[in-house]
């Protein structure tokens, strides 16, 4: 493939960032908006071309028979530490990176378009910092694209951090609001903390394997993979050897490689908001809603899933680490689903729903084993990543439209909006059906595959995740009814009645809703699998339907329908049932409403323990010893500088004398010392 298109995919968002960031203030608002949107549109088209070429062109470097190959489009040396340790910047094309290119650019373009309407009030007055907003969006898109196409783990780390930084900037976009500022700090610090583990994991991994490259790392571990990834059999054998010998040392009960992988997963836990590092994501909702749709629903938060998928063959080698991922994912999924049932702020509900759904993907990767249905869990995780990105972005953008119309985040201010905002209503309903897993919407298929994968692994996880899926349907429809039904609000009457938003905002809703309707029929088994092999012999529009495991599908459908029915009974009309439920389980309700007091726990640990016992002594050392020595140096330098000022008298005779004496002394001292 001609490298010009991949280069443009990265270069256009970067240029947009520079142009909008440097010259944005000189542009009028519409021009900045149109420029950013158009740039992203071009990027999207290029990404589509790339993905299409990769999957369907049949070129020998991309596909070999029925196997999708990894292809490095370009790989530029960037920093060379030693002969073998090189950091490169490149562009890796394989099924998951092509998939991510499509997801990121699509959502990003929709969000760019949507923000043209969202970032101004009802009178058409633009938000302050509108251009800055678009600059940051472009920066984020660039970083995220760079992350997914990374050819080596270090490049991924660099972009990983860039993504974190741009997320920080966007969460804190309303920097005059103290809550936004503290939310952005929280997000940055928590994910940074997790990235520490990631970095240590990278260092351990590359220390033992001697390489950063994904192709080297993932080709070797499992026999039979050599042909899939284009590395020579020799390299592969060499690395496999390394894994078997040097990674064997046991450290605190796990092999070194397990530790490395778990630490790397810790980075993923931070970005993907897994328990117990999830606390930043709900607060991140302080950012503008389009940002939540792009970053905190569809792209950045799945980076952790992507990371695990990227290194999946390695994880497969150390099954212990996969088990850890399953446990973390399952706990997170249940926890977030329970919390989502009681939140009032609609964005928080969606945030916890996101956490729960990402945990689904994690579980799916964790339960994937090649023995069962060609590693269906891997495919299902990626499939769910794709469908979830579409319908969750849709839900967030709907929430944005509601917030924009009502001016509040709480459903208590909404109620009964279905007549006023029909487009938003219908698209939101489609999103809810998709996430609840109702046939034929997108979520049904992907969630069904995940449950099948769980079923193949262990009965416990299957029942557990089915229950969470039921909870998902329940809390989403609770939200839906409380926003659009429940009762008629008086304040909605009259002149200021809420209404649907301008076309820039409704068009993305409609497009994403349409995608959510049909995305489930994409034959993922033939596009994205853990080893590149196709799962189906022939493909048609109904492939996914034909290959369903109906026993699992029917049960999950029944669960979802039952949950929706329960939500309908409880929330469609104003009634005392929710209140009764609350009294029935007062403790559970209180814990759920307060998110199981995780934030308070963190507060306690950081303020009472870490600050007092660790930070204070360090601060003392810093203030007195380190600052003290610096102050001492500054004092000495000032004194010395004062003392010798006479040397520079401006007197030429003296200059020459100093010169001469200096030259003579230089000679004389050397003579005395050396002879």
């Amino acid at each position: 493939m001609d490298p010009i298109i991949p280069i443009l995919i990265l270069a256009i968002p970067l240029c947009m960032f520079l142009v909008l960031g440097l010259f944005g203030n000189k542009m009028s608002h519409p021009i900045a908006g149109i420029l950013g949107t158009a740039g992203m549109g071009v990027t999207m088209v290029l990404a589509y071309i790339t993905a299409f070429t990769y999957f369907f062109s049949g070129a020998p470097q991309f596909i070999d028979g029925d196997v999708h190959l990894q292809n490095i489009v370009f790989n530029q040396d960037w920093l060379q530490f030693t002969d073998s340790l090189v950091i490169r910047l490149g562009f890796l094309l394989d099924p998951i990176s092509a998939l991510m290119l499509v997801v990121i650019t699509t959502i990003s373009f929709m969000v760019h378009l949507y923000s043209n309407g969202y970032m101004r009030d009802h009178h058409g007055v633009w938000e302050t910092g509108f251009q800055r907003f678009y600059a940051f969006l472009s920066l984020f898109s660039f970083s995220m694209l760079g992350l997914v196409v990374a050819t080596n783990i270090f490049q991924m780390y660099i972009f990983w951090e860039l993504v974190g930084a741009s997320s920080y900037l966007l969460i804190g976009f309303y920097y005059t609001k103290p809550s936004a500022v503290s939310a952005s700090k929280k997000a940055f610090i928590v994910t940074r903390f997790a990235d520490l583990g990631f970095l240590i994991g990278i260092l351990i991994l590359s220390f033992y394997t001697g390489t950063f490259n994904f192709t080297d790392l993932t080709s070797a571990p499992v026999a039979g993979m050599d042909g899939v990834y284009q590395v020579s059999g020799e390299t592969a054998a060499g690395i496999r050897n390394i894994f078997q010998t040097s990674a064997a040392p046991i450290f605190m009960g796990g092999s070194v490689m397990t530790w490395a992988l778990v630490l790397i997963f810790m980075g993923g836990m931070g970005k993907s908001a897994m328990l117990p590092l999830h606390i930043w994501l709900p607060d991140a909702m302080e950012g503008p809603t389009p940002v939540s749709a792009l970053i905190h629903a569809a792209t950045m938060v799945v980076a952790g899933v992507y990371l695990v998928a990227r290194l999946f063959p390695l994880y497969l080698m150390e099954v212990t680490s996969l088990d850890i991922i399953v446990v973390v994912g399952a706990l997170t999924a249940l926890y977030a689903a329970i919390v989502a049932c009681t939140q009032v702020d609609i964005k928080r509900v969606l945030a916890f729903s996101t956490i729960s759904q990402i945990a689904f993907m994690m579980v799916s990767l964790g339960v994937a084993r090649p023995e069962f249905h060609h590693g269906i869990g891997y495919m299902a995780g990626m499939f769910h990543l794709f469908t979830h990105a579409m319908f969750k972005a849709l839900l967030f953008l709907c929430a944005g439209a509601l917030i924009h119309a009502i001016g509040s985040n709480d459903y208590t201010d909404m109620h009964g909006l279905r007549k006023y905002m029909p487009v938003t209503h219908i698209t939101f309903l489609i999103g809810c059906l998709a996430i609840a897993g109702i046939i034929p919407f997108a979520g049904f298929f992907s969630k069904d595959e995940i449950l099948t994968a769980c079923f193949g692994n262990s009965m416990v996880w299957y029942i557990w995740m089915s229950f969470v899926a039921g909870l998902t349907a329940f809390y989403m429809f609770r939200l839906y009814y409380l926003i659009f039904w429940w009762k008629e609000h008086k304040i909605h009457e009259g002149h200021h009645a809420p209404h649907d938003q301008p076309w820039t905002m409704t068009l993305p809703l409609v497009v994403l809703a349409a995608i959510s309707c049909v995305a489930g029929f994409v034959p993922f088994g033939n596009l994205v699998t853990w080893n590149g092999h196709n799962m189906f012999d022939h493909v048609s529009f109904l492939t996914n339907l034909e290959n369903l495991d109906w026993s699992v599908a029917v049960i999950s459908l029944l669960v979802a329908v039952a949950a929706i029915a329960l939500a309908t009974v409880m929330y469609k009309k104003e009634n005392p049932m929710p209140e009764r439920m609350r009294r029935l389980m007062p403790n559970l309700w209180r814990w759920s409403r307060n998110r199981f007091y995780w934030d308070e726990l963190y507060m306690f640990i950081t303020h009472k323990i870490i600050f007092n016992l660790i930070c204070r002594p360090i601060a003392w050392f810093d203030r007195h010893i380190i600052d003290g020595s610096m102050d001492g140096m500054a004092y000495l330098a000032q004194r010395a500088s004062y003392a010798i000022r006479g040397l520079q008298s401006g007197n030429i005779q003296m200059y020459v004398w100093v010169y001469l004496i200096g030259a003579l002394l230089l000679g004389a001292v050397t003579v005395i010392c050396l002879i």
């Binding site: 140096m633 330098a637 000022r645 200059y655 020459v656 010169y659 030259a663 050397t670 002879i675």
Partner: protein
């Protein structure tokens, strides 16, 4: 005599052609059409610079006049780096040269500048002390005229007098050292001297001779204690000349210094001059820093900053290996961009308002955000803050020095590192004045001239670009590996 030998001196001949064309244009074009002189010179020199980087130039190693003159890819590279610097100086000087007072004499400015550059070329390429001295004098004496260029400023004259007196004195010392060397070895050829020095016992005379040679070149580099002229001259000279003095003249001298010490006295490296340089480097960096702390005039401040920078450059000489050479050249390259960016801003403000005090920079970012931004980048780069180019040049020069491996050099690098912290203080003082000090801005908002802006853009691009793109250092390292000095 075989006159075709002259063809070996490709770059010198090229420069001579540029000089002659400028001279002819200045002399014979009617006064009225002389508006084009500056543009003509800049374009001509730009073409010459690009030509110097052509691949046909790069690969030729040659010598002429029985080995008095040599050229090789490394020398091409260092001359190319100097050319880039001179080009920026020419662009930045455009506004000043075309000001009402200077316009009649700007031709002389360009011609003198090109002649001194020619001298520097000879210093770099000479392999015989006679040719070297010619180069040294050609690079020194016309500079006095340039320093005195501001006819109406009494400081300019004073600076020129101080410069020429010190220069003459240092030349005398240098020659005296040379005569000792001649007396010891009976030759002025680098190679012959080197072979004799390698055989003989180390004598007191050789040490004294070496000390004098070091003092002579140390004058051009303004190493402490041969630096006292620097501040007065930098302050008094027109800013264009100051920037030329501080960057180009220094860069050429540093490279020539490296060549002399390694080519001629390489055999007595660990016996003699390693220790001399240790002392000089520590003195230079420290004293330069200590004086820079207290300055309130920007030009004087940069004079002391450039003294301490010269100390860092010397680390590349002390290392005495291919890495040291590569990092020295890289340091000069980065220094060209960083220092000229700073001088570009100073010049723009001086041309507009005549102000050069540090206090005049208070609140500059409110009125002139781009100028302050450029200045900030320059200061960050000079102080060595990543990811700007200055960080990498310092990093490489320290790495090169440490690769030499002795305990003493670790101590030396440690002292240099501590000094970078001190230097951070005064570099950031400027940034603080521009961005943080709450006083009302002294300098009003203005739009700097087109040429000044182009010059600053080039510098900013260099500072950021060299920090991100890594291939330059690798290339220089490759070239240095082929130099065969070590």
């Amino acid at each position: 005599m075989d006159y075709s030998q002259f063809l070996a001196m490709k770059q010198e001949i090229g420069l001579l052609v540029v000089f002659l064309l400028v001279f002819l244009y200045d002399t014979f074009m009617p006064r009225r059409s002389q508006g084009g002189l500056s543009v003509f010179t800049i374009i001509l020199f730009a073409v010459f610079t690009v030509w110097g980087f052509m691949p046909c130039m790069g690969s030729c190693a040659d010598s002429a006049f029985a080995g008095m003159y040599v050229t090789s890819p490394v020398m091409m590279a260092i001359k190319g780096i100097l050319n880039v610097g001179v080009l920026i100086v020419l662009i930045q000087a455009n506004k000043w040269a075309n000001s009402e007072i200077q316009i009649m004499r700007r031709g002389e400015f360009y011609e003198l500048l090109l002649v001194t550059l020619f001298g520097m070329y000879l210093m770099i390429s000479a392999r015989h002390f006679l040719l070297f001295v010619i180069g040294l004098e050609a690079a020194s004496l016309p500079l006095a005229a340039m320093v005195a260029f501001d006819k109406n400023h009494y400081e300019s004259h004073e600076a020129a007098v101080k410069y020429i007196l010190t220069a003459v004195f240092s030349s005398a010392i240098f020659m005296m050292g040379l005569s000792f060397v001649y007396g010891l070895t009976g030759s002025l050829y680098f190679s012959t001297i080197a072979s004799v020095v390698a055989l003989e016992e180390t004598s007191a005379m050789l040490i004294v001779a070496l000390a004098f040679v070091v003092a002579g070149v140390g004058f051009k580099l303004s190493l402490v204690p041969f630096h006292l002229w620097t501040a007065d001259v930098y302050q008094g000279a027109p800013t264009s000349v100051t920037s030329y003095l501080s960057v180009i003249s220094k860069g050429a001298a540093a490279f020539a210094f490296l060549v002399i010490l390694t080519q001629v006295f390489g055999a007595v490296y660990s016996d003699i001059w390693e220790w001399m340089l240790y002392a000089l480097v520590i003195l230079t960096i420290t004293v330069g820093n200590l004086f820079a702390l207290r300055q309130t005039n920007m030009k004087r401040f940069l004079a002391f900053s450039s003294i301490s920078q010269a100390g860092y450059i010397m680390l590349g000489v002390v290392a005495c290996n291919a890495m040291g050479m590569a990092s020295l050249m890289y340091y000069i390259l980065v220094y060209v961009f960083s220092n000229l960016a700073a001088f570009g801003v100073i010049q723009a403000i001086e041309n507009k308002t005549g102000k050069v005090g540090m206090a005049d920079y208070n609140g500059l970012h409110k009125t002139n955000p781009w100028l302050s931004f450029t200045m900030m980048l320059a200061m960050f780069s000079l102080a060595g803050i990543p990811p700007f180019a200055g960080f990498f040049s310092k990093f490489f020069i320290f790495t090169g020095a440490i690769a030499q491996g002795s305990i003493a050099i670790y101590v030396l690098v440690l002292i240099a590192l501590i000094n970078t912290i001190v230097s951070l203080f005064y570099y950031l003082l400027v940034v603080k004045a521009m961005y943080i000090n709450p006083e009302q801005p002294v300098v009003g908002a203005f739009r700097s001239a087109c040429s000044e802006r182009i010059g600053m853009w080039i510098c900013v691009a260099g500072i950021i670009g060299l920090g991100i793109v890594s291939c330059f250092y690798d290339h220089l390292l490759e070239l240095s590996g082929t130099f065969g000095l070590f």
